[in-house]
Amino acid sequence: MDLSLSPAELQFRDEVRAWLSEHHPGPEPQRTEEIVDFRLRWQRTLFDGGYVGIAWPRQHGGRGATLMEQAIFNEEMVRAKAPPPANIIGLVMGGPVIIAHGSDEQRARFLAPILNGDEVWCQGFSEPNAGSDLAAVTTRAEPVDGGWKVNGQKVWTSFAHRATWCMLLARTGDQERHRNLTYFICNMKQPGVEVRPLRQATGDSEFNEIFFNDATVADEDRVGAVGDGWNVAITTLMFERAGLSAASALAIQMELDELAALIRERGRQEDPVLRRRLSALIVDTETMRLNGYRGLSRVIERGVPGPEGSLAKIQWADINQRLGELALDVLGADGLAADSVWTRRMLRARANSIEGGTSEIQRNIIAERVLDLPRMR
């Protein structure tokens, strides 16, 4: 056990830190449209600096660094308050799945534009009636000569209006739920695909709905065998979590520092109840960060991400929601004014226990796959 960075890791961290302070693009614009362009330019800068696809193998255009270095990079990005690259979905989910399950042709065709941001990806899994029960997707892909014809609706997908490719999970048969799903890479730039913004409880529209009306997918854009989409998608979701939780914890720590400053600014620091609620959040955020590093060490040992990511997901949602509530209590009646960044965070955090797998589903996963308890379904 050694919790200090190795000389190589230290050197990498210092390189990243220096590079970020030099190339930091400054604060993000407000309007969603501008944000995408801003992040596309930023991704290009990261790419030119060699900081995209940190842990991707070199032969696939990545940096070939370790998962630990990827985690270090994530933390430095958070510490520098640097925005994420535009094509985060492609980098975290789309690319790794093609590397793991795709053909050489697909690797040659899709990986490079994911890295340099020429092609943005979006996720096409969730549907109005397939949320927690992902296997219930009803979007259908029917074989037509040369490929597939897609009809259905997807929801909760971000940047869909700017995406070139969609990771599409569609039904290709009528047998048992998990057995007849197939994973496609669907071109978003075609008449059969319509994207509508979806307004959330916060008032923002981070997400979209996608409507497929006789959209077409070439058969060479299918990943994995017909009917094997469930397994492909599951890997995708596991990659989504691996190595992110330590950086997420750091992001929360920075918000907790802001909250501590707010408590001082409002002269509430003599209130031991607020202080202890803040301390309890600091403790839980620290254990989340440490769980993340222990999990990462296990992933590195095992080579593949495991279900432990569910623990971090539960902690992350719980901490963010308590943080938002504490901030409102610090602000008191002032918290009624929605211009406060804290109000927005409080509202946004309510989705944390739903998006990316509800906390209930995460507990099912832990109970069944970590504790080996019998399943009800």
Binding site: R199, Q200, M346, L347, T358, R377
Partner: protein, 340 residues
């Protein structure tokens, strides 16, 4: 002893529910959220039916209903996410009636009761400014500060509208150029208002629970209604416990306000705490039970959560009421009395 509503009280509850069904359905509420309805139509309905005078005694042109009845009206309006105009007017009336002098009563109460001159209240903040909900269009504003209250005619006030977390009501910052103090002790009046806020929160929580149970019965995942899973059904059971506990506390405090002044401080603190915490937990749980759909702007879950967050922080917050209870029990720095 009988702890349930009398027939007259049930009639009040049903009348308000009926009025909201007819005049403040979800569509009207959404128009209000979108800024396309200033709520004046509903106000005229409330005035026409005499509800605006519910909290004003008959000698000043009101109906002089009891606090239980006032609470039932607030609960019904909360359930429908109606504007805060009724509460603001009733709050101003209660304060003027119990803390104002006879001249102030003569000047303001008849107008408040008839709905012709609407009253509102604003909470004075540490920085001296005051925050109010749906105060625009009011004829007078009662500014409530720690331990004292003043009343200002609207024409001597400036209203700066803010974006509020609670989009079902309009948040404004009020500056009063000149305001005259209400000479009396406003403590008992404020306790009654905490009960009224608690009642509104009970309505909000009840609605959030009803939506969650309905969704849990019908939403299918993994081949079953999600209400068949204990992660959902036990959450709903806890929501019911919160709603019923808040309702019991609010009804008891409302009855106490009219029958047992000595116990009112304790009863109203219990009511505000149970209602504020209960409504916050229940509206949050309801959103969770709804999943993604509950996080969309079109769904009412977030409106209920926003309203619970706002009303729970009107007048006294939960912590201040917890501290008052420990003082009433003889604990805490400022307390000298001995535990009951």
């Amino acid at each position: 002893m009988r702890f349930d509503l009398s027939d007259d009280q049930r009639a009040v509850r049903d009348a308000i529910d009926e009025l909201c069904r007819a005049r403040w359905d979800p569509a009207a509420m959404r128009r209000r959220v979108a800024g396309e309805d200033d709520g004046s139509q509903l106000w005229r309905e409330l005035a026409g039916a005499g509800w605006t005078g519910a909290a004003v005694d008959q000698s000043h042109g009101g109906q002089g209903l009891g606090t239980v009845e006032l609470a039932l009206v607030c609960e019904g309006l909360g359930k429908a996410l109606a504007p805060g105009t009724f509460f603001g007017n009733a709050a101003a009336a209660v304060l003027v009636q119990s803390a104002g002098d006879e001249q102030q009563r003569q000047r303001w109460l008849p107008g408040f009761a008839a709905g012709a001159m609407r009253g509102a209240i604003a909470m004075v903040q540490p920085d001296g400014s005051a925050l109010a909900l749906d105060a625009d269009g009011a004829a007078a504003v009662v500014l409530v500060g720690p331990g004292h209250a003043t009343i200002a005619a609207a024409d001597s006030c400036s209203f700066e509208s803010l974006d509020g977390i609670d989009v079902t009501r309009r948040l404004t910052r009020v500056h009063a150029a000149q305001a005259e103090p209400l000479p009396g002790d406003c403590g008992p009046a404020l306790d009654r208002l905490e009960v009224a806020i608690g009642a509104e929160l009970v309505g909000v929580a009840q609605r959030a629970l009803d939506l969650a149970v309905e969704h849990a019965r019908t939403r299918q995942q993994f081949g079953r209604p999600i209400g068949a899973y204990q992660a959902v059904s036990h959450r709903c059971a806890d929501m019911l416990l919160d709603v019923e506990s808040a309702r019991s506390a609010v009804l008891c405090a409302a009855w106490t306000a009219d029958h047992d002044a000595a116990v009112l401080p304790f009863a109203s603190s219990v009511a505000k705490i149970a209602a504020a915490q209960g409504a916050w937990r229940v509206t949050g749980s309801s959103l969770q039970v709804h999943g993604g759909i509950g996080f969309t702007w079109e769904h009412d879950c977030h409106l209920l959560l926003r309203r619970a967050a706002a009303s729970g922080r009107l007048l006294g917050g939960v912590d201040s009421h917890l501290d008052r209870i420990s003082e009433l029990r003889g604990l805490g720095p400022r307390s000298t009395t001995v535990s009951a």
